[in-house]
């Protein structure tokens, strides 16, 4: 399979959107493009599995390499392993759902869809890049549309939120860039190639400086404590699809970067700073959960809960065991699907009730059975109900964390475990106040979900359940790749 198609397709779709004349054409073009992406992602999954089943044990499959800028040692190097495939699948799910829920966007429809598709282009590119330079290029492509999506189509204090988000994400990318340059100049050989760099032994002094730069830089994207404050404001001001992309895709760019770039390339740095990562992520898990408990706005609830759930991703990475790392990737996929669905359903509720304050709602189960059922499912996934994806991911991380037998790791693991109780508290509070209880008179005539909303929800729920009841396929996909990273860390 040619990986160029993965970035070519969204690019073509984006161009096609620009050529369309009316919103109707734009929407259908975007939907067709997203559907093709979806199909392509599955095609990638199946060809990948077939290759592996046929005994192709290469670390990266479907590699492509063009010498792009030989004088600066930049090459256009693409390739995927199980982790990338998982992230690409996640992106495809979120993109199609995001396009579907935005069906009623009337303001500058063409530009809106163009930016959405452009963002997916950046994300796919990021997940398949094996050259640090182009990886960074795609990262930036995925960031910039965010600013416009919030600034133009957002709500509330959108300019402020857009600025804060752009500032912090740009700050994160700047750290990444500095770290990458540090690696480039610090490694024994001048190259931007990720695979070659991982095989060269980057001097420990360079790792000690560059690892934190890269980890924090990517960490900003994935709500590393205390650089998470863009999350609540950014999400609450973003349009529905914007929030979905932000939480479902952008936050995963960071997690993937922490894993693939920082940890894989600089395993000694990872070992050096692992304990700090664990402390910060444990704080994020508990602190995010407790902060969520006090929120009244549904978007803030999901945003803070994302801080908590993404803390699990970083915890899984920081634990430096194969199981926990596999769990971290699973958690990224799971959280991406779940949070996209959560934001989608919040958007659906908001469009009807014109409020996101949980104490102003109540009894919505009576008038919108479909939407509230989705809310129940996503809430239960968030609190880790077995049969849904969150359980699988978090349990894998916890099992992996417990493999570290010293007291420090034990305390962190138990603290992380405790969040499952706090999560239950805030999720049930939110659901109880929104969906249950007596219904207010002004809401008694609301309608249930439309076809596009139902389809978006069903697609995301299918993903959540597919992981929840049959996690072995995701585990098979991710765990060999995590094993390779762990081998590096173990110094073999």
């Amino acid at each position: 399979m040619n990986l160029i198609s993965l970035i070519g397709l969204p690019l073509l779709t984006a161009v096609a959107i620009l050529l369309m004349r009316n919103p109707q054409q734009v929407k259908w073009t975007a939907l067709i493009g997203a559907t093709l992406q979806f199909a392509l992602a599955f095609a990638l999954l199946f060809t990948f599995r077939n290759e592996r089943a046929a005994g192709n044990e290469a670390q990266m499959l479907f590699e492509l390499q063009y010498n792009w800028f030989p004088s600066l040692h930049i090459s256009f190097h693409l390739g995927v392993d199980g982790i990338s495939v998982a992230m690409i699948l996640l992106t495809a799910f979120v993109v199609i759902a995001g396009v579907l829920v935005s069906w009623n966007v009337t303001k500058m429809t063409k530009e809106f869809y163009f930016l959405l598709i452009l963002l997916s282009f950046g994300a796919y590119g990021f997940f398949i890049s094996l050259d640090l330079f182009i990886l960074f290029f795609f990262l930036e492509i995925a960031v910039i549309p965010k600013y416009l999506l919030i600034g133009i189509w957002g709500s509330g204090k959108k300019e402020n939120a857009a600025n804060k988000l752009a500032l912090m994400l740009m700050g994160g990318s700047a750290l990444v860039l500095v770290g990458l340059l540090g690696v480039y100049f610090g490694s024994p050989e001048r190259t931007f190639d990720l695979i070659s760099l991982s095989q060269l032994h980057i001097p420990i002094t360079v790792q000690k400086i560059c690892f934190p730069l890269l980890f924090v830089g990517f960490g900003v994207f994935t709500a590393l404590f205390p650089f998470h404050t863009w999350v609540p404001d950014g999400h609450s001001s973003a349009p529905t699809a914007g929030s979905m992309f932000l939480a479902g895709i952008s936050m995963k760019l960071g997690g993937y970067g922490c894993l693939r770039v920082a940890t894989y390339m600089m395993p000694d740095g990872a070992k050096e700073y692992a304990n700090i990562i664990i402390v910060l992520s444990t704080i994020a898990i508990l602190y995010g959960a407790f902060a969520t408990m006090m929120q009244k706005d549904l978007k803030y609830i999901n945003a803070y809960s994302s801080v908590s759930h993404c803390g699990f991703v970083l915890l899984g990475i920081g634990m430096l065991t194969k199981t926990a790392m596999t769990g971290a990737v699973m958690q990224m996929v799971s959280h991406g699907l779940m949070t996209a669905l959560f934001f989608a359903v919040i958007g659906m509720i908001y469009e009807r009730t014109h409020t996101r304050q949980v104490n102003e709602m109540g009894g919505l189960l009576k008038v919108m059975p479909f939407i509230t059922t989705v809310l129940f499912i996503v809430g239960l996934c968030s609190l880790g109900l077995p049969g849904l994806s969150g359980f699988v991911a978090e349990m894998t991380i916890l099992m992996g964390s417990w493999q570290q037998p010293d007291t420090f790791h034990r305390v962190a693991t138990i603290a992380a475990c405790m969040s499952i109780v706090v999560t239950a508290v805030y999720i049930l509070r939110a659901i109880g106040q929104t969906a249950m209880g007596p219904i207010k008179a002004e809401f008694s005539n609301l309608t249930d979900a439309a076809w596009n909303e139902k389809l978006a929800a069903v697609i995301l729920i299918a993903g959540i359940i597919a992981i929840g009841i049959a996690p072995f396929w995701l585990n098979d996909l991710v765990s060999p790749a995590a094993d390779i990273i762990m081998h590096k860390v173990a110094g073999k």
Partner: protein, 659 residues
């Protein structure tokens, strides 16, 4: 994927027992009901959903009985010992070599017994609900949730892997949540379902950490392997678990106590019982199924499943025993003062589960020592019959009188003859009057306690007297006493669908005691001859009769004796009436400590300090830039330039250092 899905057949079973299919269908039929009714119920199956769900469950029950017959009488016993058979198992999620969640089925005496109990009681409840819930708007949803619950509970009892059990354990919790919150527009039901879920979740935290510890030492999550490794004193796993200790207690004991906390949460043991009385907000048949006969005994089942390991750690067994006996007495005292009939039954459930728990706690391993184990399982079995019957009977009463309060009832024996007789049988059974079922199981429990720990024995004896008292207080207040005002036309007892379960369960409550239970269920799989001691039975039976006659004296006819006794015991009575202020204590902990001392500061800190720093950083940059460069700030592009400048600066630095 394909190689993982392959089913590992561990034992070829005798001809005629195509067990794989039968077993797999037992939980899957209710699941199919859940999916079918959940997805299409509202639109297409509004009327027929109940019948459909009941038929599916009937098939499940038949298959369970078939399995039980096969296991106990045909293939389960090899050389006089009941075997643990794993007909199949597949790897669901591999964590590390040897440690994986496997989904499988285990057949041993306790799981087979539970299969029968769960599917039979669930069938009775389905049948009863056909009439009881008739005309409800969310009729299909109700049956869908019942299906989900039954699926999860059956999955739980069949689990061959401890994490598989946790999986179904949580599913059971959520189905209980959905069913308690069935009347979602009542604020009290919403509060109750949240409370039930959160309290049990808190307990599950213990279970989860316990699993982590057990898995770490045993190096496996599979029940059989785990038990094998942690019960043989020569195994390195066992020695490691005994050798390492924390706060002077061995890791093994810690793990077991943590697991027990999970069990105590589900089984409503003190102090995690506070959700159970509130759970009565759910429809009454649900209370019969979940909060009396099946889900609440999951904790007992969990301890029983891990019993071989528990028996290696006397301190852990003591925790089980003392928690059990304390809960039994505590709940019995509260039950004597409650006026809501469902709440009386809820506390009675808690008390009876306390009996099962301490029976396990006083039990040992093997032969005669294992009497407590057998007795506990026996009591679980008989209790499921008579407690489900009591709840369904209460349902008939509530259905008839439209109130849960005893003060609105009285003299109902004339209107509800079948309910009256069956309720009386259940009351006699739970009070331990021979020859009803409860007599036999409770005798065994008392005997086991007597052999092991006199303090527990005497407390249990007093509690069983109290049990007889509060049950007959309930019985006389509802069916005798004053004449209740019955409004105009009443719809009798609700017809055949409601009567049949009552009669069948009453038959169980009356005769289940004659089953030679020790022949089937024992610690080591060998038949346990339970000797019957006449002189030993005298004390409990007399105490039970004393309780009954006291209740009769106080409540058979309307009089002011109960009020004056309550007044003379004023302080104690008030404390018991207010459930010893446990709810208030919890409210204080959650509201004042969790929300105000942790949640609120965290949210404030985030908004003002962490975010404040970000805004401060932004503002500082802005201020500096304005001062130095007189720029018109506020544009992100300019910040980008600053970053770029910084980047270039650092890049230069790097080049300088490493070039």
């Amino acid at each position: 994927m394909n190689d993982l899905l392959q089913i590992r057949v561990l034992q070829v079973l005798p001809l005629g027992w195509d067990l794989g299919w039968a077993l797999i269908l037992i939980p899957l039929l209710p699941l199919a009901g859940f999916l079918l009714l959940g997805l299409f119920g509202r639109k297409y199956l509004q009327r027929s959903s109940g019948i459909l769900a009941t038929l599916l469950l009937l098939s499940s029950t038949v298959l369970s009985l078939y399995t039980a017959y096969g296991y106990f009488f045909e293939f389960g016993k090899v050389d006089g010992i009941y075997q643990k058979i794993i007909p199949f198992q597949f790897t669901w999620l591999q964590f590390s070599p040897g440690v994986s969640i496997d989904m499988g089925v285990i057949l041993d005496p306790i799981s087979v017994m539970m299969l029968v109990v769960v599917s039979f009681i669930s069938l009775m409840v389905h049948l009863y609900s056909l009439a009881y819930m008739k005309g409800e708007e969310r009729f299909p949803t109700y049956f869908a949730f019942l299906g989900l619950f039954t699926f999860s509970m059956l999955g739980l009892v069949m689990s061959s892997n401890i994490f598989q059990m946790y999986f179904f354990w949580e599913l059971v919790g959520v189905s209980s949540f959905l069913l308690i919150g069935y009347y979602y527009d009542r604020p009290s039901a919403v509060a109750a379902c949240k409370k039930a879920f959160i309290v049990t979740r808190f307990a599950d935290l213990g279970f989860l950490i316990g699993i982590l510890v057990l898995a770490f030492y045993a190096g496996t999550l599979d029940f059989n392997t785990l038990i094998q490794r942690l019960t043989s004193t020569s195994a390195p796993e066992f020695q490691a678990a005994i050798a390492s200790s924390f706060l002077g207690v061995s890791a093994l004991t810690w793990a077991l106590v943590l697991v027990f906390i999970g069990g105590a949460g589900k089984s409503a043991m003190f102090p995690l019982h506070i959700w159970l009385p509130d759970a009565m907000e759910g429809p009454t048949p649900v209370s019969a199924l979940i909060h009396a006969a099946t889900m609440v005994v999951a904790g007992v089942f969990l301890v029983a499943r891990l019993f071989p390991v528990f028996s290696m750690s006397p301190p852990a067994l003591d925790v089980v025993a003392y928690t059990g006996i304390f809960s039994a007495l505590f709940a019995a005292l509260i039950a004597c003062t409650q006026t809501d009939i469902k709440r009386v039954l809820a506390y009675s459930t808690m008390s009876q589960i306390g009996f099962m728990m301490f029976a396990l706690g006083v039990s040992g391993w093997g032969g005669e020592n294992g009497l407590g184990f057998t007795a506990s399982m026996f009591h679980l079995f008989t209790h499921a019959m008579f407690k489900a019957l009591l709840f369904l009977g209460a349902g008939s009463v509530i259905h008839f009188i439209h109130s849960n309060e005893m003060k609105d009832m009285g003299g109902l024996r004339k209107y509800l003859p079948v309910t009256h007789i069956t309720f009386l049988i259940a009351c006699l059974a739970i009070s331990g009057v021979p020859p009803f079922a409860g007599f036999f199981s409770k005798e065994e429990i008392l005997l086991a306690a007597f052999n092991h720990n006199p303090a527990i024995y005497w407390t249990a004896l007093i509690t069983s007297g109290l049990t007889a008292f509060y049950m007959f207080r309930l019985y006389f207040s509802v069916f005798w006493n004053k004449e209740a005002t019955v409004h105009g036309e009443h719809h009798g007892e609700g017809g055949f669908a409601m009567m049949l379960p009552l009669v069948l369960l009453a038959a169980g409550a009356a005769f289940a005691g004659f089953i030679p239970f020790g022949n089937f269920v024992s610690t080591d799989g060998k038949p346990l001859e339970s000797a019957f001691h006449l002189q030993f039975s005298i004390a409990p039976v007399l105490l039970g009769l004393a309780g009954i006659f006291t209740a009769m004296w106080l409540y058979k006819k309307q009089n002011d004796r109960p009020a004056s006794i309550a007044a003379s015991l004023s302080g104690f009575y008030k404390a018991a009436y207010h459930k010893f202020y446990m709810d208030e204590l919890y409210l204080f902990i959650t509201k004042k400590i969790l929300f105000n001392l942790i949640g609120r500061p965290a949210a404030w800190f985030d908004k003002n300090v962490v975010d404040g720093m970000v805004i401060g950083a932004g503002n500082t940059t802005q201020a500096i830039s304005e001062k130095i460069k007189q720029f018109q700030s506020g544009k992100v592009q300019q910040y980008a330039i600053y970053f770029l400048a910084g980047v270039i600066g650092l890049a230069v630095l790097f080049i300088y250092i490493w070039k």
